[in-house]
């Protein structure tokens, strides 16, 4: 159970990114986060693993207060939270397998990992996850030799070797074409259904939300505007979330 209570984030310089956002997510749920660009979706996701420090409010994960965790405890929490990014954020000069193994850094012996030494079972796990997203044959190529869709699959494999309880996906398909978008979303769906991993995924296209999400929350200007099943987003709700000028596409 992930509970977000009264989360507020004010950036240095006074930008109010999130205002008093509260919601909770059940284990195994697929939650879509929607809203315009700049509505606070990325900030919300990054507050959950504290890549961004929240200004106020609490995040409770299985009874533990994430916002009060010390730096060392935070490393332990983060390794159970996989993250997938819009621009994949792979280290382009490193090999694919190295990028995936980076997901194990929170588990392995730090001294050995600095010399690029990973236990055999971790290497096997990395190859297995690459196989699951059908790119095991690319494991020893450099990451920047792969296409966009393949790179995002490496990103998924990296998150999966963390053996995560939660996956935070920050607009995972926004830089991909519609066909690839569906294939990536299907991988996320599989992870959600087969492994029972909770997925929080910010999305732009409502049809993807309808197709994949169990539930959706909507942000506008840092405020929570909607929380419910995707099918409840009717035209009136839509205008509320995206503004009066918005037109539905897709």
């Amino acid at each position: 159970m992930l509970e977000i209570k009264n989360l507020t984030k004010v950036y240095e310089g006074g930008t109010q990114a999130l205002t008093d956002v509260s919601f909770s997510v059940k284990p195994g749920e697929f939650l879509a986060v929607i809203g315009l660009s700049g509505s606070g979706k990325s900030t919300l996701l990054r507050c959950i693993n504290r890549l961004i420090e929240p200004t106020e409010g609490q995040i409770i994960w299985n009874g533990q207060d994430v916002t009060a965790a010390s730096q060392d405890e935070m490393l332990k929490i983060r390794r159970k939270i996989g993250m997938i990014f819009q621009h994949f954020n792979l280290v382009s000069r490193s090999k694919v397998i190295t990028n995936v193994l980076a997901g194990r850094l929170g588990y392995v012996n730090p001294a050995m990992s600095l010399m690029n030494r990973f236990p055999k079972k971790d290497r096997e796990m990395a190859l297995k996850q690459l196989d699951r997203v059908s790119i095991a044959d690319q494991a020893y190529k450099r990451a920047d030799e792969l296409s966009g869709g393949q790179q995002q699959r490496v990103g998924i494999a990296r998150a999966m070797v963390q053996e995560p309880d939660i996956i935070l996906a920050d607009e995972p398909v926004a830089s991909l074409d519609p066909v690839l978008a569906h294939s990536i979303m299907q991988y996320l769906e599989t992870i959600n259904q087969e492994d029972g991993v909770m997925v929080l995924c910010s999305l732009h296209f409502l049809d993807l939300v309808h197709r994949y999400a169990d539930r959706a929350i909507a942000l506008n200007g840092g405020k929570l505007m909607f929380d419910g099943p995707p099918k409840e987003i009717d035209d009136a709700k839509f205008k509320e979330i995206y503004g009066k000028e918005a037109e539905r596409v897709g």
Partner: protein
């Protein structure tokens, strides 16, 4: 109408600006002592011609000569009592005649040579009775083996006896050979290139870790609460002091075993095995629940034991490399320098081991105390943290200022405890106390940024001192020679490269950094996995560029006694031996051009 006014103003402005520029340059010419009159002075032009001609004939190649001397007696000045007549000459040999066989100083005498070998040249000199030589000029014999030369007699103390005018006939024999100058230049240019190589290597190795500390994007996120900062400020000096003590104690304790090579080898093996075994055992044990128990104490002791064994290993290695090196110098013959290399590594580690131990223990003690401070700040109530802060920061401030006071005392030799210990400690304590009172108990402070600014400042100051100036200091420390030059260049390289490198670190893509942080990797892992792959190639290219600069710098660092070819060049310039200086200039030009070319090719390949 409206348009004209501004244009008038504009022209006035331009006129004023032009006048100002002229004044500035006029003043500049006065200050820089520009004087075109001197450029036309006949004396100077003659000298210039002589120097340029000498420079154009680098003294690279020479021949062996067969020398024959032809002499005539000569009186300078003419004796009053006796008549001087022409001497007898053997006309079957080369011989000389003079228009007069005695003369006063500064008189012109014509020397005629006959029967000389055709088309040869050589010097004509006046030899005193004591054998001192005074050059009169050079002769060139024509195709008949004759020459005529007007010579001006030098001003000398009058001598009553006959002196001698000697022509030396030089005939080349054998093939061309390199001159001594050329050989010395070759030796020195090799020395120069290796100085640059060594300096670049040392500078690069040290600059890499510094560059991470001097990178804003990596440091800005490091924030610690005051408790943690105060504790680690107390911990560092304590650790460093203990480290120095332990290192010297270990050396004393192990001294009996260090002398015998067999014992040293045994000790080395045992030490390495111990370190590996202990580390394996400690690292194997799994993550455990938070809390402190007996296991933690055992682990701590194990780490300490591994550390001590590590120190012993370093000491054994040091002695071994020294004695093996020394033993190898003779049998290796021409490759004896490899033995010397081993020996010097041993010597260097005598210097470095205490520093490593001190810094290592400083980091351990400072780091652990900092972590304890962090835990106190995280887990205790605000009131407790405040009290701990007040005590900790006061002590930290006092000790920090006491250390600074000791530094000042070392520099200025005040030797007054009140001024160098009590007062600074009191001031530091007050500052610490005030800081603890102002800062909210659990507020985090930007320690990373503070370290970043301090590092940047030190780097900028170091970089602004030219390596020529640094070399002067190093010459005093390690003596005149290439070692001093290498150290000076290395220090400058460290400062310059650390800055260039850190700017590369600052420009890495933040995305991978964020992604690796999100996996739960610690700071060091994040740097190794997200930053290092992005900076390897620019680092290599900057290093090549720096080597290029160091080769150029090391050609002149000899001017201040830093070894390399500059030493030779300056010597020859001071001796007015421009033909020799020319050889060194040519060598520098060739090496710099070559280096420039090689480094540009390598950099192109790398980027």
């Amino acid at each position: 109408m409206n348009k004209k006014k501004p244009s008038l103003l504009r022209s006035l402005g331009i006129a004023l600006g032009t006048a100002l520029v002229i004044v500035v340059f006029a003043y500049g010419i006065k200050v820089t002592d520009v004087n075109f009159e001197t450029t036309r002075s006949v004396d100077r032009l003659t000298q210039l011609k002589r120097v340029i001609r000498a420079l154009a004939q680098p003294d690279i190649i020479e021949y062996d000569y067969d020398e024959t001397v032809v002499e005539i007696p000569f009186y300078l000045p003419c004796p009053e009592s006796q008549e001087i007549s022409a001497p007898q000459v053997d006309k079957s040999q080369p011989y000389m005649l003079a228009s007069a066989y005695c003369a006063s100083p500064q008189e012109i005498v014509q020397i005629t040579g006959k029967n000389f070998p055709p088309d040869v040249k050589g010097p004509v000199d006046l030899y005193t009775t004591s054998g001192v030589k005074k050059p009169l000029g050079d002769f060139y014999s024509d195709s008949n083996g004759e020459f005529q030369l007007d010579v001006e007699l030098p001003t000398r103390q009058p001598i009553a006896e006959a002196q001698r005018i000697i022509s030396t006939i030089r005939i080349q024999v054998g093939s061309a050979m390199l001159t001594e100058t050329a050989k010395a230049t070759w030796d020195k240019i090799i020395e120069t290139v290796f100085m640059a190589l060594l300096a670049t290597a040392i500078g690069t190795v040290l600059a890499i870790p510094v560059s991470f500390i001097a990178a804003r994007n990596l440091m800005v996120e490091n924030k610690s609460p005051l408790t943690s900062i105060a504790f680690s400020i107390i911990g560092w000096p304590v650790g460093i002091y203990l480290g120095l003590k332990i290192a010297s104690l270990a050396r004393q304790l192990l001294a009996p075993f260090l002398e015998n090579p067999v014992q040293a080898v045994l000790g080395l093996v045992i030490g390495i095995v111990l370190v590996i075994l202990i580390l394996q055992w400690v690292l194997k044990s799994k993550d455990k629940k938070p809390g402190f128990d007996v296991m933690d104490i055992i682990k701590l002791l194990a780490y300490a034991a591994a550390g001590l064994a590590g120190i012993a290993v370093m000491l054994f290695l040091e002695t071994l490399s020294r004695s093996i090196g020394l033993a190898l110098v003779e049998p290796l013959g021409p490759f004896g320098f490899i033995g010397n290399f081993l020996y010097q590594i041993g010597e260097a580690s005598t210097l470095i081991v205490p520093a490593i131990v001190a810094l290592g223990l400083g980091a351990v003690v400072g780091g652990s105390l900092g972590k304890i401070g962090q835990t106190i700040s995280d887990k205790s109530s605000a009131g407790v943290v405040k009290v701990v802060n007040i005590i900790g920061t006061t002590v930290a401030g006092a000790s920090l200022f006491a250390i600074i006071g000791a530094g000042i005392n070392w520099l200025y030799q005040i030797d007054n405890l009140t001024k160098t210990l009590y007062w600074p400690a009191a001031i530091g304590a007050v500052i610490g106390l005030v800081l603890a009172l102002i800062v909210k108990p659990k507020q985090t402070l930007p320690t990373g940024l503070a370290i970043y600014f301090i590092t940047r400042t030190i780097l900028n100051v170091t970089r602004s001192v030219e390596s020529l100036v640094m070399a002067i200091v190093f010459v005093i420390w390690v003596g005149i020679g290439p070692f001093a030059g290498s150290l000076a260049l290395a220090l400058h390289t460290l400062a310059a490269l650390a800055k260039l490198y850190s700017e590369q670190v600052e420009s890495v893509l933040p995305g991978p950094l964020e992604a690796v942080t999100a996996t739960g990797a610690n700071r060091l892992q994040t740097i190794v996995y997200a930053v290092v792959p992005q900076i390897v190639s620019p680092y290599i290219s900057f290093t090549m560029y720096r080597w290029d600069i160091n080769v150029r710098m090391s050609t002149i660092i000899g001017f201040v006694g830093g070894g390399g070819i500059g030493f030779l060049l300056q010597q020859n310039i001071n001796l007015l031996d421009y033909r020799a200086a020319s050889v060194q200039m040519v060598a520098i030009a060739v090496v710099v051009a070559l280096m420039d070319y090689v480094s540009s090719v390598v950099r192109e390949r790398m980027v």
